[in-house]
Symmetry: C3
């Protein structure tokens, strides 16, 4: 399987390029770009991890934390550039609920079928819950204030930028806290030895080269994907919301999905939680606010106002995940519950 | 007292029948039917437990879990048949908040006055909290989506049926989880020996006969009750909501109420929690979705849209109960708090 | 520093009086009254503690619990008398979120910089969370019911008075529970010996005299403050909401703020939590309902309906504080998070 990775990556990328520039059937463009994104996102993830390994623990952790969702960030920047703010917000929503419900749910279910109970660091679970709650509050407060008090567009944008700044400050604080000042308290002692820390398969120079190449590839293929997504969603009668929240989000997170499930099945639920919840936090506290700042470079500025149903979906996902994970253990049934909530949200978004 | 049970049961039943068919004063019809429901619901509960005992532990647990709220289910089916959907939803709301706040509150207060602290299984408390949260999410999501996005009636009904299906799948999973795969983790070790497991007082054949008789009696008297409830609520100026949420719900749950309080006063708070919270879960995850499917058999279909105030009441009850019970212990003051929240909700519903 | 306390107190009081009666510049009136309030509130707090010490443990605890927020109560009564209900509610909101986010956040941050982890009684944390949730429910339920169901003014007022009564019953129960029946369970064992229990610096007679004097001073200076607050807020273009929720609330709680931070820096986070959360509870469960009853003495009656954004702010503060404190320990990062949420709310209120 692994031997075929680069050939398949290359083939889908070239095919995707041809489909785009030769203006083939849009549905085909979309499908091939989507498949390609899954591969290049996986490639980018591996390159990031490899560079992070050579950079040493702290800088490496920082690199992972910052570029771990680079693929999604790049896709979203292209969506912002096109002014597709609704789809950006939908894909942020979809990434958060997808990671919390689908990835964590599938991991807990798959792991729970093999192991009766799987445990992870209970302090980390509590901190994660608090941080996710911060994200919910940060999305909920402006929505409530703007809706009830009819703020002007200018005030809404100032409030959005302030909150985006606060979220980034919270995220930087979290990196310092979890990687420096309270590292040991939040670590999964049972898993420290093995952890993520496998030897990288590429040399330092090759890793950096691959990181650059992968980033460029992601940037291109993201543009092709975004170019076709609108036409496709119209053709099939899907709403922007459904496409952003479920299709784009699942495609953008496919690499993490499979990694987390594999780890859970090796009884490393702590590492799976770190990927799933960590990725959600990165989206909510880093990717989302960065996109607001990025939008200031373009003509149209994106505010932080999510729709009622997006906030409801995120709040539901956060509450149920917190309730499931707060005790620092997971079972098959808890995984199943998370998946059921994901289905409920998926069906609800589909009908909008 | 116990000797008088069957004579009183029989007398109220016959009186109720005469009052109904001879078309006596409607208020009297309602009062006597209400008293009769309390007795036959108690009878049905005892017959179910007795049959469950002979059926063996697993099948018995399943029977209890399925027919434990049979009286309420049957009353609700008659309400559905009459198209009184608002009253059905109100009585579902009332059962959930009544069990969580009134039954659990009175049990914790009564038990807490005798015993300084009463403890129960902390894993069970956590799982209960998660499941109740699932129920809140399942009611909250469609309400938000339908309200913000103006879904068509057809889509609303499809969404309702999907969510009803998800809830039943969650409930079946919960039975498998709590009775088979993770039974020991969720048991109250201190109470296992004595538990519910008293010797049944009737033979196997008699138990089955009684179960059939009790079910038929409940069915009849429910119809008589429902027949008079509308006239009575109009006469006294009560809203359908208040009657469903407080009067019907208290009548339908009277048997559980007294059982739970008795258990708490014997320091078996775990069993009391099981009755109160278990009954709420059964209503939310089994009775409510079954009623949606049942309504498909009639002309008018019932959707899963609860009103804002019903969802607010259920959410308030679930959050406060979770916060009180999450540590696996109760005190008199926690019981009092639950009762105070019940009073707040009762007064608020009364004024609607 | 301490030697200068009485001279400064006296000077600001006299200056404040002159500014008021000579009708000096309103902004100056406001600023000097605000500074004076900080000093007299501190004086009142010390006098209350001193009297409480002589009154013996139980009665003393009761005195502290009842008159601990006397300054705020008195300011609020003058606001109620003037019919400035919006500002009253804003200042209640501001006191609750200020204590939970600003005071607790600053305490946890200041303490957490010196000490890696600070622990406090985990039972108390759980109970506090439940009680704060009760307050949220008590504010949320009437708002939802009145808004969705268009209750009449008369019904709204009856509902308000009922809920106010319930809150006071809950508060009295809490005093009995935490000071009599379950005192030892909720105490901070590590801190009992040192605790608050320093020797009072004044004799019994002097303490009582000071309590009377301080109360009278607070009453006067509150009236002067309230007299100028409206003009000033108009002049600077601040909304009543912002002035009430941030300026009045910060001024009224300044004494507690500094005390809590000092205690946290001495590793007495338990005492700091008691001040911050205890003060919030007192405002929500005692001051707020008392103000509703007080308003019945005046022409215009104040109901319990808080605005959507006030309830959202209180709910956000309560949820995030519960999540942070539920494990009975705090770190610098948790303090920082609370402060960040306070900033988000502050900016949001500023734009209204």
């Amino acid at each position: 399987m692994k031997k075929l990775f680069f050939p398949v990556l290359g083939a889908t990328f070239i095919l995707s390029a041809i489909a785009h520039y030769a203006n083939w059937n849009t549905t085909f463009q979309f499908v091939i770009a989507a498949i390609c994104v899954i591969f290049v996102a996986g490639f980018l993830g591996q390159a990031t991890e490899s560079v992070a390994h050579y950079a040493g623990q702290r800088l490496g952790g920082f690199l992972n934390a910052t570029f771990g969702n680079a693929a999604e960030l790049i896709i979203a920047i292209f969506l912002v550039k096109e002014g597709l703010f609704d789809m950006v917000k939908a894909s942020i929503t979809g990434s958060i609920i997808g990671n919390l419900l689908l990835v964590l749910g599938a991991s807990a279910l798959a792991g729970g079928i093999k192991f009766k109970e799987q445990r992870f660091n209970v302090h980390l679970a509590g901190q994660n819950a608090t941080l996710m709650l911060l994200a919910v509050v940060a999305l909920f407060i402006p929505a409530v204030f703007v809706k009830s008090e009819h703020l002007s567009d200018h005030d809404t944008m100032t409030l959005s930028v302030t909150i985006a700044g606060v979220l980034i400050v919270a995220y930087v604080g979290w990196l310092i806290y979890s990687m420096i000042t309270h590292k040991s308290m939040l670590e999964d002692h049972a898993e420290t030895s093995s952890g993520h820390g496998e030897e990288p398969k590429w040399s330092k120079k090759l890793s950096i080269l691959f990181l650059v190449v992968a980033t460029v590839m992601v940037a291109f293929v993201s543009e092709w994907l975004v170019g076709s997504v609108e036409v496709v969603s119209e053709k099939f009668g899907f709403s922007e919301l459904f496409v952003g929240a479920f299709i784009v989000a699942i495609i953008g997170n496919a690499a993490e999905h499979s990694a987390a499930i594999m780890l859970a099945m090796k009884n490393k639920i702590g590492a799976a939680v770190e990927i799933a919840v960590g990725s959600s936090l990165q989206i909510a506290l880093f990717v989302a606010p960065v996109l607001i700042f990025v939008s200031l470079l373009f003509d149209h500025h994106m505010n932080i106002l999510f729709s009622t149903i997006e906030i409801a979906a995120i709040a539901a996902a956060v509450l149920i995940t917190s309730s499931v994970s707060r005790d620092g253990q997971t079972t098959w049934y808890e995984g199943k519950l998370l998946l059921l909530v994901y289905i409920v949200l998926g069906v609800a978004f589909f009908f909008v």
